[in-house]
Symmetry: C7
Protein backbone atom coordinates (compact mmCIF):
# COMPACT_ATOMS: atom_id res chain seq x y z
CA UNK A 1 0.00 0.00 0.00
CA UNK A 2 1.26 3.47 -0.85
CA UNK A 3 -0.29 5.77 1.75
CA UNK A 4 1.83 8.78 0.99
CA UNK A 5 1.14 8.91 -2.74
CA UNK A 6 -1.44 11.72 -2.63
CA UNK A 7 0.76 13.72 -0.26
CA UNK A 8 3.79 13.28 -2.52
CA UNK A 9 1.81 14.57 -5.52
CA UNK A 10 0.52 17.51 -3.47
CA UNK A 11 4.00 18.34 -2.14
CA UNK A 12 5.42 18.37 -5.65
CA UNK A 13 2.60 20.75 -6.62
CA UNK A 14 3.32 23.36 -3.92
CA UNK A 15 3.82 26.75 -5.53
CA UNK A 16 2.30 25.57 -8.79
CA UNK A 17 -1.12 26.01 -10.43
CA UNK A 18 -3.59 23.21 -9.67
CA UNK A 19 -7.13 22.62 -10.86
CA UNK A 20 -9.70 21.64 -8.20
CA UNK A 21 -13.12 20.10 -8.93
CA UNK A 22 -15.58 20.40 -6.05
CA UNK A 23 -18.81 18.59 -5.18
CA UNK A 24 -21.69 20.43 -6.85
CA UNK A 25 -19.62 21.14 -9.95
CA UNK A 26 -17.59 24.23 -8.97
CA UNK A 27 -14.15 24.32 -10.64
CA UNK A 28 -11.30 26.35 -9.14
CA UNK A 29 -7.77 27.03 -10.33
CA UNK A 30 -5.08 28.43 -8.12
CA UNK A 31 -1.49 28.35 -6.91
CA UNK A 32 -1.24 25.61 -4.25
CA UNK A 33 0.12 27.19 -1.10
CA UNK A 34 -0.65 24.49 1.45
CA UNK A 35 -2.66 21.40 2.30
CA UNK A 36 -3.27 18.95 5.12
CA UNK A 37 -4.25 15.32 5.50
CA UNK A 38 -7.99 16.14 5.13
CA UNK A 39 -7.22 17.70 1.71
CA UNK A 40 -7.99 21.14 3.14
CA UNK A 41 -6.18 23.38 0.66
CA UNK A 42 -4.92 26.95 0.59
CA UNK A 43 -4.69 28.46 -2.87
CA UNK A 44 -3.33 31.84 -3.95
CA UNK A 45 -4.25 33.87 -7.06
CA UNK A 46 -7.21 31.52 -7.35
CA UNK A 47 -10.16 31.93 -9.68
CA UNK A 48 -13.39 30.08 -10.25
CA UNK A 49 -13.80 28.77 -13.79
CA UNK A 50 -17.39 29.12 -14.98
CA UNK A 51 -19.15 26.80 -17.41
CA UNK A 52 -18.67 29.34 -20.20
CA UNK A 53 -14.90 29.36 -19.37
CA UNK A 54 -15.12 32.86 -17.97
CA UNK A 55 -13.21 33.24 -14.71
CA UNK A 56 -14.07 34.94 -11.44
CA UNK A 57 -11.05 36.05 -9.39
CA UNK A 58 -11.03 34.73 -5.80
CA UNK A 59 -7.53 35.68 -4.61
CA UNK A 60 -6.26 33.68 -1.61
CA UNK A 61 -8.74 31.04 -0.43
CA UNK A 62 -9.05 28.10 1.93
CA UNK A 63 -10.97 25.13 0.49
CA UNK A 64 -12.45 22.73 3.06
CA UNK A 65 -11.28 19.27 2.07
CA UNK A 66 -14.59 17.42 2.27
CA UNK A 67 -15.78 19.38 -0.78
CA UNK A 68 -12.93 18.18 -3.00
CA UNK A 69 -13.59 15.59 -5.72
CA UNK A 70 -10.48 15.83 -7.93
CA UNK A 71 -7.18 17.71 -7.72
CA UNK A 72 -5.20 18.07 -10.95
CA UNK A 73 -1.58 19.01 -10.40
CA UNK A 74 0.21 20.80 -13.22
CA UNK A 75 1.65 18.72 -16.07
CA UNK A 76 5.29 17.80 -15.39
CA UNK B 1 3.17 18.28 4.47
CA UNK B 2 2.06 21.67 5.79
CA UNK B 3 -0.75 20.95 8.27
CA UNK B 4 -0.88 24.40 9.77
CA UNK B 5 -1.33 26.31 6.53
CA UNK B 6 -5.11 26.84 6.81
CA UNK B 7 -4.76 27.82 10.46
CA UNK B 8 -2.02 30.32 9.64
CA UNK B 9 -4.21 31.96 6.97
CA UNK B 10 -7.15 32.05 9.39
CA UNK B 11 -5.02 33.52 12.20
CA UNK B 12 -3.76 36.26 9.92
CA UNK B 13 -7.39 37.01 9.06
CA UNK B 14 -8.60 37.47 12.64
CA UNK B 15 -10.24 40.88 12.99
CA UNK B 16 -10.51 41.26 9.23
CA UNK B 17 -13.38 40.87 6.73
CA UNK B 18 -13.59 37.38 5.19
CA UNK B 19 -15.94 35.99 2.55
CA UNK B 20 -17.47 32.55 3.27
CA UNK B 21 -19.14 30.30 0.68
CA UNK B 22 -21.39 27.63 2.18
CA UNK B 23 -22.82 24.39 0.82
CA UNK B 24 -26.13 25.16 -0.89
CA UNK B 25 -24.81 28.44 -2.28
CA UNK B 26 -25.20 30.87 0.66
CA UNK B 27 -22.48 33.57 0.69
CA UNK B 28 -21.60 35.40 3.91
CA UNK B 29 -19.22 38.25 4.63
CA UNK B 30 -18.10 39.18 8.10
CA UNK B 31 -15.32 40.16 10.46
CA UNK B 32 -13.53 36.94 11.54
CA UNK B 33 -13.62 36.79 15.32
CA UNK B 34 -12.66 33.18 15.93
CA UNK B 35 -12.37 29.68 14.49
CA UNK B 36 -11.45 26.15 15.49
CA UNK B 37 -9.98 23.07 13.84
CA UNK B 38 -13.39 22.01 12.43
CA UNK B 39 -13.57 25.40 10.64
CA UNK B 40 -16.39 26.46 12.95
CA UNK B 41 -16.26 30.23 12.61
CA UNK B 42 -17.47 33.21 14.59
CA UNK B 43 -18.07 36.32 12.53
CA UNK B 44 -19.06 39.84 13.62
CA UNK B 45 -20.88 42.51 11.61
CA UNK B 46 -21.71 39.73 9.20
CA UNK B 47 -24.15 39.91 6.32
CA UNK B 48 -25.50 37.46 3.79
CA UNK B 49 -24.84 38.47 0.20
CA UNK B 50 -27.80 37.65 -2.03
CA UNK B 51 -27.61 36.70 -5.71
CA UNK B 52 -28.68 40.22 -6.69
CA UNK B 53 -25.79 41.56 -4.52
CA UNK B 54 -28.20 42.94 -1.96
CA UNK B 55 -27.12 42.21 1.60
CA UNK B 56 -29.00 41.00 4.64
CA UNK B 57 -27.44 42.00 7.97
CA UNK B 58 -26.78 39.06 10.33
CA UNK B 59 -24.70 40.69 13.09
CA UNK B 60 -22.61 38.25 15.17
CA UNK B 61 -22.95 34.64 14.01
CA UNK B 62 -21.48 31.19 14.54
CA UNK B 63 -21.07 29.16 11.34
CA UNK B 64 -20.88 25.37 11.80
CA UNK B 65 -17.75 24.26 9.99
CA UNK B 66 -19.18 21.34 8.04
CA UNK B 67 -21.18 23.81 5.92
CA UNK B 68 -18.08 25.70 4.74
CA UNK B 69 -16.85 25.27 1.16
CA UNK B 70 -14.47 28.21 0.70
CA UNK B 71 -13.07 30.92 2.97
CA UNK B 72 -11.59 34.00 1.30
CA UNK B 73 -9.38 36.04 3.59
CA UNK B 74 -8.97 39.73 2.76
CA UNK B 75 -6.40 40.72 0.12
CA UNK B 76 -3.03 41.49 1.74
CA UNK C 1 -5.97 29.23 17.21
CA UNK C 2 -9.00 30.11 19.30
CA UNK C 3 -10.85 26.82 19.89
CA UNK C 4 -13.19 28.12 22.53
CA UNK C 5 -14.56 31.05 20.56
CA UNK C 6 -17.85 29.42 19.51
CA UNK C 7 -18.39 28.11 23.04
CA UNK C 8 -17.75 31.56 24.53
CA UNK C 9 -20.35 33.12 22.20
CA UNK C 10 -22.84 30.36 23.04
CA UNK C 11 -22.23 30.70 26.79
CA UNK C 12 -22.83 34.43 26.61
CA UNK C 13 -26.11 33.69 24.80
CA UNK C 14 -27.52 31.30 27.44
CA UNK C 15 -30.92 32.55 28.53
CA UNK C 16 -31.20 34.86 25.54
CA UNK C 17 -33.05 34.66 22.21
CA UNK C 18 -30.98 33.18 19.37
CA UNK C 19 -31.80 32.65 15.70
CA UNK C 20 -30.89 29.26 14.20
CA UNK C 21 -30.68 28.49 10.47
CA UNK C 22 -30.85 24.77 9.66
CA UNK C 23 -29.88 22.75 6.59
CA UNK C 24 -32.85 22.65 4.23
CA UNK C 25 -33.79 26.24 5.02
CA UNK C 26 -35.75 25.94 8.30
CA UNK C 27 -35.31 29.00 10.57
CA UNK C 28 -35.93 28.75 14.31
CA UNK C 29 -35.87 31.36 17.06
CA UNK C 30 -35.76 30.49 20.72
CA UNK C 31 -34.31 31.10 24.16
CA UNK C 32 -30.98 29.22 24.36
CA UNK C 33 -31.15 26.89 27.34
CA UNK C 34 -28.19 24.62 26.66
CA UNK C 35 -25.72 23.32 24.10
CA UNK C 36 -22.86 20.86 23.76
CA UNK C 37 -19.70 20.53 21.68
CA UNK C 38 -21.64 19.00 18.73
CA UNK C 39 -23.80 22.18 18.66
CA UNK C 40 -26.77 20.17 19.87
CA UNK C 41 -29.00 22.89 21.28
CA UNK C 42 -31.91 23.11 23.68
CA UNK C 43 -34.20 26.04 23.10
CA UNK C 44 -37.21 27.24 25.11
CA UNK C 45 -40.20 29.28 23.91
CA UNK C 46 -39.00 28.45 20.42
CA UNK C 47 -40.86 29.07 17.20
CA UNK C 48 -40.26 28.27 13.55
CA UNK C 49 -40.18 31.36 11.34
CA UNK C 50 -41.88 30.67 8.00
CA UNK C 51 -40.95 32.28 4.68
CA UNK C 52 -43.92 34.66 4.98
CA UNK C 53 -42.60 35.67 8.46
CA UNK C 54 -45.48 33.92 10.17
CA UNK C 55 -44.36 31.89 13.18
CA UNK C 56 -45.23 28.43 14.38
CA UNK C 57 -44.82 27.90 18.13
CA UNK C 58 -42.58 24.92 19.06
CA UNK C 59 -42.11 25.39 22.81
CA UNK C 60 -39.07 23.60 24.27
CA UNK C 61 -37.04 21.72 21.64
CA UNK C 62 -33.79 19.87 21.18
CA UNK C 63 -32.03 20.61 17.87
CA UNK C 64 -29.55 17.95 16.71
CA UNK C 65 -26.31 19.79 15.99
CA UNK C 66 -25.51 18.32 12.59
CA UNK C 67 -28.50 20.21 11.14
CA UNK C 68 -27.19 23.61 12.21
CA UNK C 69 -25.78 26.01 9.62
CA UNK C 70 -25.72 29.35 11.44
CA UNK C 71 -26.42 30.48 15.01
CA UNK C 72 -27.11 34.20 15.55
CA UNK C 73 -26.77 35.28 19.18
CA UNK C 74 -28.69 38.36 20.25
CA UNK C 75 -27.18 41.79 19.54
CA UNK C 76 -25.10 43.01 22.53
CA UNK D 1 -20.61 24.51 28.61
CA UNK D 2 -23.61 22.39 29.51
CA UNK D 3 -23.06 19.01 27.86
CA UNK D 4 -25.83 17.19 29.64
CA UNK D 5 -28.63 19.60 28.76
CA UNK D 6 -30.14 17.57 25.92
CA UNK D 7 -29.93 14.39 28.01
CA UNK D 8 -31.65 16.09 30.95
CA UNK D 9 -34.52 17.22 28.69
CA UNK D 10 -34.78 13.72 27.19
CA UNK D 11 -34.74 12.06 30.62
CA UNK D 12 -37.52 14.32 31.84
CA UNK D 13 -39.50 13.31 28.74
CA UNK D 14 -39.28 9.53 29.31
CA UNK D 15 -42.77 8.06 29.37
CA UNK D 16 -44.25 11.18 27.82
CA UNK D 17 -45.40 12.11 24.30
CA UNK D 18 -42.69 13.79 22.18
CA UNK D 19 -42.81 15.17 18.65
CA UNK D 20 -39.92 14.26 16.34
CA UNK D 21 -39.07 16.04 13.06
CA UNK D 22 -36.86 14.01 10.75
CA UNK D 23 -34.67 14.92 7.77
CA UNK D 24 -36.81 14.80 4.63
CA UNK D 25 -39.82 16.23 6.45
CA UNK D 26 -41.33 13.19 8.20
CA UNK D 27 -43.01 14.08 11.53
CA UNK D 28 -43.54 11.44 14.21
CA UNK D 29 -45.28 11.59 17.59
CA UNK D 30 -44.85 8.92 20.24
CA UNK D 31 -44.28 8.03 23.85
CA UNK D 32 -40.51 8.28 24.53
CA UNK D 33 -39.35 4.95 25.88
CA UNK D 34 -35.60 5.29 25.54
CA UNK D 35 -32.72 7.12 23.89
CA UNK D 36 -28.94 7.08 23.71
CA UNK D 37 -26.15 9.60 23.13
CA UNK D 38 -26.56 9.38 19.31
CA UNK D 39 -30.21 10.46 19.75
CA UNK D 40 -31.35 7.00 18.70
CA UNK D 41 -34.87 6.90 20.11
CA UNK D 42 -37.41 4.23 20.98
CA UNK D 43 -40.99 5.39 20.87
CA UNK D 44 -44.18 3.55 21.80
CA UNK D 45 -47.73 4.14 20.52
CA UNK D 46 -46.08 6.21 17.82
CA UNK D 47 -47.75 7.59 14.73
CA UNK D 48 -46.60 9.47 11.67
CA UNK D 49 -48.32 12.84 11.22
CA UNK D 50 -49.03 13.51 7.55
CA UNK D 51 -49.14 16.94 5.92
CA UNK D 52 -52.94 16.89 5.99
CA UNK D 53 -52.74 16.17 9.77
CA UNK D 54 -53.99 12.63 9.26
CA UNK D 55 -52.01 10.10 11.29
CA UNK D 56 -50.61 6.71 10.42
CA UNK D 57 -50.15 4.38 13.41
CA UNK D 58 -46.61 2.97 13.77
CA UNK D 59 -46.73 1.33 17.20
CA UNK D 60 -43.31 0.76 18.83
CA UNK D 61 -40.43 2.04 16.71
CA UNK D 62 -36.72 2.68 16.83
CA UNK D 63 -35.62 5.94 15.17
CA UNK D 64 -31.98 6.07 14.08
CA UNK D 65 -30.54 9.25 15.56
CA UNK D 66 -28.82 10.64 12.49
CA UNK D 67 -32.25 11.28 10.93
CA UNK D 68 -33.41 13.52 13.78
CA UNK D 69 -33.65 17.29 13.26
CA UNK D 70 -35.78 18.43 16.20
CA UNK D 71 -37.22 16.76 19.30
CA UNK D 72 -40.11 18.54 21.06
CA UNK D 73 -40.71 17.30 24.60
CA UNK D 74 -44.18 17.78 26.05
CA UNK D 75 -45.09 21.16 27.53
CA UNK D 76 -44.39 21.23 31.30
CA UNK E 1 -29.68 7.74 30.06
CA UNK E 2 -30.81 4.40 28.70
CA UNK E 3 -28.17 3.39 26.14
CA UNK E 4 -29.30 -0.18 25.70
CA UNK E 5 -32.93 0.58 24.92
CA UNK E 6 -32.67 0.18 21.13
CA UNK E 7 -30.66 -3.00 21.56
CA UNK E 8 -33.22 -4.44 23.98
CA UNK E 9 -36.03 -3.77 21.49
CA UNK E 10 -33.98 -5.32 18.68
CA UNK E 11 -33.09 -8.38 20.79
CA UNK E 12 -36.75 -8.96 21.63
CA UNK E 13 -37.49 -8.77 17.89
CA UNK E 14 -34.99 -11.47 16.83
CA UNK E 15 -36.82 -14.16 14.87
CA UNK E 16 -39.83 -11.92 14.34
CA UNK E 17 -41.09 -9.82 11.43
CA UNK E 18 -39.92 -6.20 11.48
CA UNK E 19 -40.69 -3.29 9.17
CA UNK E 20 -37.72 -1.14 8.07
CA UNK E 21 -38.00 2.32 6.51
CA UNK E 22 -34.88 3.41 4.64
CA UNK E 23 -33.58 6.81 3.49
CA UNK E 24 -35.02 7.53 0.04
CA UNK E 25 -38.34 5.93 0.94
CA UNK E 26 -37.72 2.20 0.45
CA UNK E 27 -39.76 0.05 2.85
CA UNK E 28 -38.68 -3.51 3.68
CA UNK E 29 -40.30 -6.21 5.80
CA UNK E 30 -38.46 -9.29 6.98
CA UNK E 31 -37.65 -11.69 9.77
CA UNK E 32 -34.92 -10.10 11.93
CA UNK E 33 -32.01 -12.50 12.07
CA UNK E 34 -29.29 -10.27 13.44
CA UNK E 35 -28.08 -6.74 14.02
CA UNK E 36 -25.09 -4.81 15.36
CA UNK E 37 -24.47 -1.49 17.08
CA UNK E 38 -24.44 0.40 13.72
CA UNK E 39 -27.98 -0.91 13.08
CA UNK E 40 -26.64 -3.11 10.30
CA UNK E 41 -29.41 -5.71 10.00
CA UNK E 42 -29.77 -9.19 8.57
CA UNK E 43 -33.28 -10.10 7.53
CA UNK E 44 -34.66 -13.39 6.24
CA UNK E 45 -37.72 -13.97 4.04
CA UNK E 46 -37.60 -10.26 3.38
CA UNK E 47 -39.58 -8.36 0.80
CA UNK E 48 -39.71 -4.80 -0.43
CA UNK E 49 -43.11 -3.17 -0.05
CA UNK E 50 -43.92 -0.94 -3.02
CA UNK E 51 -46.03 2.22 -2.89
CA UNK E 52 -48.97 0.28 -4.39
CA UNK E 53 -48.56 -2.28 -1.55
CA UNK E 54 -47.30 -4.90 -3.97
CA UNK E 55 -44.30 -6.80 -2.62
CA UNK E 56 -41.03 -7.83 -4.22
CA UNK E 57 -39.39 -10.85 -2.59
CA UNK E 58 -35.77 -10.27 -1.50
CA UNK E 59 -35.02 -13.41 0.54
CA UNK E 60 -32.09 -13.08 2.98
CA UNK E 61 -30.54 -9.60 2.95
CA UNK E 62 -28.04 -7.46 4.80
CA UNK E 63 -29.12 -3.83 5.28
CA UNK E 64 -26.29 -1.34 5.89
CA UNK E 65 -27.25 0.56 9.02
CA UNK E 66 -26.60 4.09 7.82
CA UNK E 67 -29.59 3.76 5.45
CA UNK E 68 -32.05 3.00 8.27
CA UNK E 69 -34.57 5.65 9.36
CA UNK E 70 -37.10 3.65 11.37
CA UNK E 71 -37.35 0.06 12.60
CA UNK E 72 -40.80 -1.19 13.65
CA UNK E 73 -40.70 -4.33 15.75
CA UNK E 74 -43.78 -6.56 15.74
CA UNK E 75 -46.69 -5.63 18.02
CA UNK E 76 -46.39 -7.40 21.40
CA UNK F 1 -26.48 -8.52 20.52
CA UNK F 2 -25.17 -10.44 17.51
CA UNK F 3 -22.37 -8.32 16.10
CA UNK F 4 -20.96 -10.91 13.73
CA UNK F 5 -24.22 -11.70 11.98
CA UNK F 6 -23.56 -9.62 8.85
CA UNK F 7 -20.03 -10.97 8.64
CA UNK F 8 -21.25 -14.56 8.98
CA UNK F 9 -23.73 -14.06 6.12
CA UNK F 10 -21.01 -12.44 4.00
CA UNK F 11 -18.52 -15.24 4.75
CA UNK F 12 -21.05 -17.87 3.75
CA UNK F 13 -21.55 -15.95 0.50
CA UNK F 14 -17.86 -15.89 -0.52
CA UNK F 15 -17.50 -17.41 -3.97
CA UNK F 16 -21.21 -17.10 -4.65
CA UNK F 17 -23.35 -14.64 -6.64
CA UNK F 18 -24.70 -11.73 -4.58
CA UNK F 19 -26.98 -8.85 -5.53
CA UNK F 20 -25.96 -5.37 -4.35
CA UNK F 21 -28.24 -2.32 -4.24
CA UNK F 22 -26.39 0.99 -4.07
CA UNK F 23 -27.43 4.49 -3.04
CA UNK F 24 -28.82 6.27 -6.11
CA UNK F 25 -30.47 3.10 -7.37
CA UNK F 26 -27.62 1.25 -9.12
CA UNK F 27 -28.00 -2.56 -8.90
CA UNK F 28 -24.99 -4.86 -9.30
CA UNK F 29 -24.68 -8.63 -9.36
CA UNK F 30 -21.39 -10.44 -8.98
CA UNK F 31 -19.41 -13.24 -7.41
CA UNK F 32 -18.40 -12.12 -3.89
CA UNK F 33 -14.63 -12.37 -3.65
CA UNK F 34 -13.97 -10.36 -0.51
CA UNK F 35 -15.26 -7.80 1.95
CA UNK F 36 -14.21 -5.88 5.04
CA UNK F 37 -15.87 -4.37 8.10
CA UNK F 38 -16.85 -1.19 6.18
CA UNK F 39 -18.77 -3.40 3.69
CA UNK F 40 -16.21 -2.58 1.03
CA UNK F 41 -16.73 -5.44 -1.41
CA UNK F 42 -14.75 -7.08 -4.20
CA UNK F 43 -16.88 -8.77 -6.82
CA UNK F 44 -15.83 -10.86 -9.81
CA UNK F 45 -17.73 -11.45 -13.06
CA UNK F 46 -19.91 -8.57 -11.97
CA UNK F 47 -22.51 -6.79 -14.06
CA UNK F 48 -24.75 -3.81 -13.59
CA UNK F 49 -28.44 -4.61 -13.95
CA UNK F 50 -30.29 -1.83 -15.74
CA UNK F 51 -33.93 -0.85 -15.15
CA UNK F 52 -34.92 -2.68 -18.36
CA UNK F 53 -33.16 -5.80 -16.98
CA UNK F 54 -30.40 -5.50 -19.56
CA UNK F 55 -26.97 -6.07 -18.06
CA UNK F 56 -23.70 -4.24 -18.49
CA UNK F 57 -20.60 -6.38 -17.80
CA UNK F 58 -18.21 -4.86 -15.22
CA UNK F 59 -15.78 -7.75 -14.60
CA UNK F 60 -13.84 -7.52 -11.32
CA UNK F 61 -14.79 -4.47 -9.25
CA UNK F 62 -14.28 -2.92 -5.84
CA UNK F 63 -17.42 -1.34 -4.34
CA UNK F 64 -16.80 1.30 -1.65
CA UNK F 65 -18.90 0.26 1.31
CA UNK F 66 -20.54 3.59 2.09
CA UNK F 67 -22.53 3.30 -1.16
CA UNK F 68 -24.12 -0.02 -0.17
CA UNK F 69 -27.79 -0.13 0.84
CA UNK F 70 -28.64 -3.84 0.63
CA UNK F 71 -26.66 -7.02 0.00
CA UNK F 72 -28.64 -10.11 -1.04
CA UNK F 73 -26.71 -13.35 -0.64
CA UNK F 74 -27.72 -16.30 -2.83
CA UNK F 75 -30.69 -18.42 -1.75
CA UNK F 76 -29.53 -21.40 0.36
CA UNK G 1 -13.22 -11.94 7.11
CA UNK G 2 -10.88 -10.83 4.36
CA UNK G 3 -9.93 -7.26 5.23
CA UNK G 4 -7.10 -6.91 2.77
CA UNK G 5 -9.06 -7.99 -0.29
CA UNK G 6 -9.65 -4.49 -1.70
CA UNK G 7 -6.04 -3.55 -1.05
CA UNK G 8 -4.77 -6.70 -2.78
CA UNK G 9 -6.88 -5.91 -5.87
CA UNK G 10 -5.64 -2.30 -5.85
CA UNK G 11 -2.00 -3.36 -5.43
CA UNK G 12 -2.29 -5.73 -8.36
CA UNK G 13 -3.69 -2.83 -10.39
CA UNK G 14 -0.81 -0.42 -9.74
CA UNK G 15 0.60 0.78 -13.05
CA UNK G 16 -2.45 -0.44 -14.94
CA UNK G 17 -5.55 1.27 -16.36
CA UNK G 18 -8.51 1.33 -13.98
CA UNK G 19 -12.05 2.66 -14.43
CA UNK G 20 -13.48 4.75 -11.57
CA UNK G 21 -17.17 5.58 -11.10
CA UNK G 22 -17.81 8.53 -8.81
CA UNK G 23 -20.86 9.74 -6.90
CA UNK G 24 -22.88 12.01 -9.17
CA UNK G 25 -22.13 9.86 -12.20
CA UNK G 26 -18.67 11.03 -13.29
CA UNK G 27 -16.59 8.22 -14.89
CA UNK G 28 -12.80 8.43 -15.00
CA UNK G 29 -10.20 6.14 -16.53
CA UNK G 30 -6.53 6.33 -15.69
CA UNK G 31 -3.31 4.56 -14.84
CA UNK G 32 -3.39 3.75 -11.09
CA UNK G 33 -0.32 5.29 -9.52
CA UNK G 34 -1.22 5.10 -5.84
CA UNK G 35 -3.95 4.70 -3.28
CA UNK G 36 -4.50 4.69 0.48
CA UNK G 37 -6.89 3.09 2.97
CA UNK G 38 -9.54 5.81 2.37
CA UNK G 39 -9.53 4.87 -1.36
CA UNK G 40 -7.91 8.20 -2.16
CA UNK G 41 -6.39 7.49 -5.56
CA UNK G 42 -3.70 9.01 -7.75
CA UNK G 43 -4.15 8.37 -11.45
CA UNK G 44 -1.87 9.25 -14.37
CA UNK G 45 -2.83 9.82 -18.02
CA UNK G 46 -6.38 10.01 -16.74
CA UNK G 47 -9.41 11.12 -18.72
CA UNK G 48 -13.06 11.70 -17.95
CA UNK G 49 -15.41 9.57 -20.05
CA UNK G 50 -18.51 11.53 -21.03
CA UNK G 51 -21.96 10.06 -21.58
CA UNK G 52 -21.45 10.23 -25.35
CA UNK G 53 -18.17 8.25 -24.88
CA UNK G 54 -16.09 11.28 -25.76
CA UNK G 55 -13.13 11.73 -23.42
CA UNK G 56 -11.70 14.78 -21.70
CA UNK G 57 -8.00 14.49 -20.84
CA UNK G 58 -7.21 15.15 -17.16
CA UNK G 59 -3.54 14.10 -16.92
CA UNK G 60 -2.33 13.29 -13.39
CA UNK G 61 -5.09 13.62 -10.77
CA UNK G 62 -5.83 12.90 -7.13
CA UNK G 63 -9.33 11.55 -6.48
CA UNK G 64 -10.64 12.00 -2.92
CA UNK G 65 -11.80 8.58 -1.78
CA UNK G 66 -15.20 9.52 -0.38
CA UNK G 67 -16.39 10.25 -3.94
CA UNK G 68 -15.61 6.72 -5.18
CA UNK G 69 -18.46 4.28 -5.85
CA UNK G 70 -16.79 1.56 -7.93
CA UNK G 71 -13.22 0.81 -9.02
CA UNK G 72 -12.79 -1.56 -11.96
CA UNK G 73 -9.30 -2.98 -12.25
CA UNK G 74 -8.11 -4.13 -15.69
CA UNK G 75 -9.16 -7.60 -16.88
CA UNK G 76 -6.52 -10.21 -15.99
Amino acid sequence: MSVDMAIKVLEESLGKMVLIKLKGGKVIRGNLHGFDQHMNLTLEQSEEIMEDNKTNSLGTIIVRGDNVVIISPPPR
